[in-house]
Structure formats: C-alpha cells, structure tokens
C-alpha cells in the first residue's frame, strides 16, 4: 500500500499527484521545487529529493488534500490586560490595519522590544473574525517557549503547537504555533501568518521554507514578519517600497540598548590551546564573579567552548552548552534559576533567551560566525529587564572587523532614532 501524503486545507477536498510534469519539466507540488537537478528517477517513477525529509514525494504518490474546518466560539478575550508602551500600541494598530487590508507587513523591532505582545491584538481580532492563524518561527525552542505563554494568555482558544515530533500533529485548532517546516502539511489553510525571526537559520535564504509559507496561507492572506536584524534582502524590499514596514527603535522599558565595548586581545585561540585564558578576559570575569552577576559567554565553535570550559572550571561556576548537547535545556534552566553563574555557549542561545540581569561577552569576536546580525542579537540579550536595564557588554576580539563596526553602528542608529522620537527615558 502506498501511503498518501496528507495536507490539510480549507479548499475543496482533492487528491493530486505530488510530482508532476509540466512543459517537460518536473515540479513538486509538495515543496514547490522546480530545480531539475534535485529530481531523481527510480524504478517506479521520479521523486523529489528536496523534501525527502518529510516523506517521499514522487510521481507514483498522491497528496490527499483533506478538508478540515475548526469550530469557533462567540467572543475571545485575553486573560489579563497587557500593558503596551506607546510605540507598541502604534505598532499593534498598524498590524491590525495591515490585517484588515490584507497586506504584508514587516515589523523591525529592536531586541527586547516586545514583539510577541505587539501581535496579540491582531491575533485577537482575527480570532473574533473566525479566522485561523499561524504563528510560525524557524526554531523549535521558540515554539516550546511560546506555547505555554499563549495558552495562558488566550485561555479560550484551542492552541496547536507543531514541531518535529509533537503530539499535536493533525489536531484541529484556531491558533497554530508552528515551526516553519511543519507548514508543509497545510495547503491554503491559514488566513493570517505571523513569522517570527524571519532572518534566523534555517528560514533565511531557504526557498523551500518560503514556498511552504506561500502554500500554507490562503491567496491574499496577509503575512506579518517580525525581525530584529533584517537581512540584506529584506532591507532591499524595505527601501524599494515593496514591503510595508514599521520600525520600533526602543525597548519596551524605554532604556537604550547597551552599547558594546571592544577589547582587543592577542592570539586568543593559541592561548586557549595552551590552556591559558587571556588576561583581559580573566580580569573581566573575575570582576563579574565578585559582583555576583550572571554572564553569557559566546564562543565561535564547540572546540573553543570546550577548551574554555576546561580552563575556567576550577575558578568559576561555569557550564558549556551547544546545539547537539542532550541536557541543554536543563542547564539553561539552572542558569535562569541563578545556580550557574557563567554559561559558555555557541550561537544556539543567540535568540529567544531572556534572562534578567546578565552581562554578555563574546570571545574571539573576529570569527566569521559573528556577522553583524549575530552580534546585534547577542547584544540584545543584555539589559532586557526593566529593573536592570544597564549591563556590561564586551566584545573580546583579536582585531576590529567590519561586522563589529556594522553592528555597533546599527545599535547606535537605533538608539539615535529612539532619542529623536523621544522614546527614551
């Protein structure tokens, strides 16, 4: 028996062949792939290698576009009133406007501006219009973090959270919180899609995932994009007027973003290889230890992180965290609970982690991994709590790179815009 590939839709129910031929060229209905190189012939037909992870899609297989429709109740409301700053209010009004006109909108908000709260009003509005909404994000961690939060705030709504091995797959709901990969199972289904962290890996520069979003939404359904660090492509779209945008230059607590200071160290990697921590770094860390302040230490590679952990283990209460590690969440949780003072991490914790009262440093900031967007995101980890808006951010680098300069320039620019608009305290 051939397994049918299921896609949920609100259109008429149908069964279609998943890889088809048009003008002598193959194309995949599942992932929208047109590249002839990624099709391969086997014994029974041709299959698409592009979306193989999601199950084989081929000329001898069919997609069952299954019609489902969800139930709604009369009126939805939030559990508690959410206080927004003035600029956030304007932004959320702008979102509602875009939704009504069914236009795409980009919200370019600084890290820690409260992007999620801005979207609440649109979601509520759309829910009361009996629409199905999707909050998509490229990262699974974000889905896991947001689901309980949304469940708490929208207590009447059936919330479905979708990720790789989630138990909610195929369930009916009104609000879907999903990774962008999981949108493959939907066809012309959502009336509003909100994408968080548009510039994050793997959504950035991935045509397949962009295709999924296009496929999952209904025709002329609006897409709201949220980002803190727009990519070149998005910047181009903004400047050329193809994408409406709204900038939020200040954080919700109206303190400026802390400016990073660059400290030059010599031969960091060589010193780490010799089991020796550069003096400047050590001095800075000792000072944090005295003040009992938690510290994020970002390193460019796993190897570098392991070396550093070995060196610092004796003196400092530190742990190393990286993407493939199994007990990663536990350690981050311990860090949140103030049981670990220093956390060494690769760029995994670059986004979506909120810890109050932390200092941040990057070691070997001249590495290629730390481009300007990464540095801006990392700096955005600092000073997110309104009671501790000031924190120390240091970039330890062998030399000044263009990325460092660009990042500092961007932060300064946002702070200046905020100052001009009187958004700072």
């Amino acid at each position: 028996m051939i397994k049918l590939l299921i896609e949920y839709t609100k259109d008429v129910e149908s069964k279609v062949i998943s890889v088809d031929k048009k003008n002598n060229r193959y194309y995949c209905r599942r992932c929208g792939n047109h590249n002839q190189k990624s099709f391969f012939k086997d014994q029974l037909g041709t299959y698409c290698r592009n979306c193989l992870v999601f199950g084989k899609s081929s000329t001898y297989q069919k997609i069952w576009r299954k019609k489902i429709s969800s139930e709604f109740i009369e009126e939805y409301c939030l559990k508690k009133v959410i206080f927004l700053s003035d600029i956030q209010k304007i932004a959320s009004k702008r979102c509602v406007e875009a939704y009504k006109l069914s236009e795409d909108l980009l919200i370019y908000a600084v890290c820690g501006a409260g992007k999620t709260e801005i979207v609440y009003e649109v979601i509520l509005k759309a829910l009361n219009d009996n629409k199905v909404i999707c909050f998509a994000t490229p990262r699974k961690d974000v889905v896991l973090e947001l689901t309980p939060r949304f469940k708490r705030d929208f207590y009447q709504v059936k919330i479905v959270s979708l990720y790789g091995d989630s138990p909610d797959k195929g369930k009916l709901g009104n609000l879907y919180i999903s990774t962008t990969h999981q949108l493959i199972n939907y066809y012309h289904y959502f009336d509003l899609i909100i994408i968080d962290e548009v510039d994050a890996f793997p959504y950035y520069n991935n045509k397949m995932l962009e295709g999924f979003v296009k496929k999952a939404k209904k025709d002329n359904a609006p897409v709201i994009l949220l980002t803190a660090t727009p990519t070149k492509k998005i910047k181009y779209l903004m400047s050329s007027g193809k994408l409406a945008y709204f900038i939020i230059p200040s954080r919700y607590h109206r303190y400026p973003i802390p400016l990073p200071t660059v400290k030059l160290t010599n031969n960091t990697l060589q010193k780490l290889n010799k089991n020796h921590c550069p003096r400047k770094i050590k001095r800075w860390l000792v000072l944090r230890k005295k003040n009992k302040k938690r510290v994020f230490i970002f390193v460019p590679s796993i190897n570098c992180g392991k070396l550093l952990e070995n060196i610092l283990k004796k003196e400092f209460n530190c742990r190393f965290v990286y993407a493939q590690m199994k007990g990663r969440k536990k350690i981050v949780k311990l860090f949140r609970e103030n049981k670990i003072q220093f956390i060494i991490t690769t760029t995994v914790l670059e986004r979506g982690v909120t810890v109050s009262n932390v200092d941040v440093c990057i070691i070997k900031c001249d590495d290629v991994i730390f481009d300007d967007r990464a540095i801006v995101q990392i700096v955005g980890r600092a000073g997110r709590d309104k009671y501790y808006p000031n924190s120390n951010v240091v970039l330890f680098s062998d030399y000044n790179t263009l990325a460092i300069k660009a990042a500092i320039k961007q932060i300064k620019r946002m702070n200046n815009i905020a100052k001009e608009k009187n958004l700072l305290r």
Binding site: I2, F40, Q43, L44, G45, V53, K56
Partner: protein
Amino acid sequence: MEKCLLCGQHTNNLFNYCHIFGLGNKLLCEKCLILLERVNNGCVKCGKKTKDIICSDCLYWRNYNLTKLFEIVNYSLFYYNDFGKEILRRIKFSGDLKLIYAFKNEIRLFIKKYRFKDITLVPVPIHNERLEERGFNQSLYIAKLFNLPILDVLVKVNNEKQSKKIKAMRMEFNNLFDIKPGVNIENKRVMIVDDIYTTGSTVHQIGRLLYEKKVKEILSFTLFRS
C-alpha cells in the same frame, strides 16, 4: 564543483586536468570517506571482523546439510558502523535512491582489483509490496553500478522482514525466494548482489537455489558487512 552526496558539503578536491576528461569526479567528500570503515583482515570467506581465519557463521554454513555442497565467497566493501547504518536508513527507509550512486567509484575500483570476467549478477529481489512502498529495489541498482550483465531471475515469495528475527530463526531455511521458470543459468559464474550481509542466510538460501540449477561458481557482493 560537485557536492558530496552524503553530507551535502562541497567536495574538497581542486580543479585539475582529470575534470576535463571527466575522470576525477569524486562523489564523496573526504570527511565522509574516513567515516566509512573498509573491510580488511577479516574472515576469509565473508569478511567478518574476527581474528580467526574462518568465522563461526561460515563454519555453521559449512556444516549445515543444505549448504554443505557448495561454498560462497562474499566480498563486502565496508563494515556496518553507525555511519553505514545512517546511509542504509536513508537509502531504504527514506527512499533516497541517489545515495547508492555514492558508491559508484568504490565499486568500479573493486571490479578492477579482482578482475572479474564473465560474471553474471543476480540481485536479491524484494517483495512487490515493499517495492511499491520504497519505489525501487536497492540491490538491483547496486548491481547496475557494475556495468556487468544482470539476470533478474529471483522472486521473493515471503514478505517477512529479516531484520525483525532473532539469529537462530534467520539461520533456518524457510523458502523466502524462488527462481523464475525458464531461465538458463547453467555453467555460469554468478554473483549475488545485496546491500548488507548479516548472517549470510539470504545469500546461502539463494545459493542453494542456484546450486540446484547447476551453476559453476557462486560469489556474493554486499556493500556492508555487519
């Protein structure tokens, strides 16, 4: 520049004159090639990793009354380590046929090394149900890489999964295969082609069938040896 079939990274070879003649195209990158563990210094008959000259499995087949009369020499390319498992999983259960072509160069080298002449390949069949599920018979496609004549003479009768059984059950014969009627393979050197050799029961069952058809010599080739 080509991309590595297994990991998708660019293969690390520089452009040289071989590329002009289409010779130096590497299908795998060096990182992946290191992870694959080559078969050497194992059991003489099947290549199993042992210190003995002949492993216990082969001795079992030598004494088993149905397989006493003939001998099968097995050639395997790699040991079935974690990386090998991952590859086979991707080929067989995700259904990515293209990955088989990653072994093209290895197989060509293998033929050159042993100088096989006038050999007929017999790929191990899969059940029709499984064929519909997967879309291809992986053994057939491995055999196609050899550039040698292929005789698809076998039919799988029973749709049981070998890998779900315990060892003792696997080593008993229970008529998994059948030979298509009206095929003449008398006095031929035959090589059975499969993806993995675990206990040798598949190969020996097929060997028994071929032996009854009076084949001159039976060899076997598998990509992996567990």
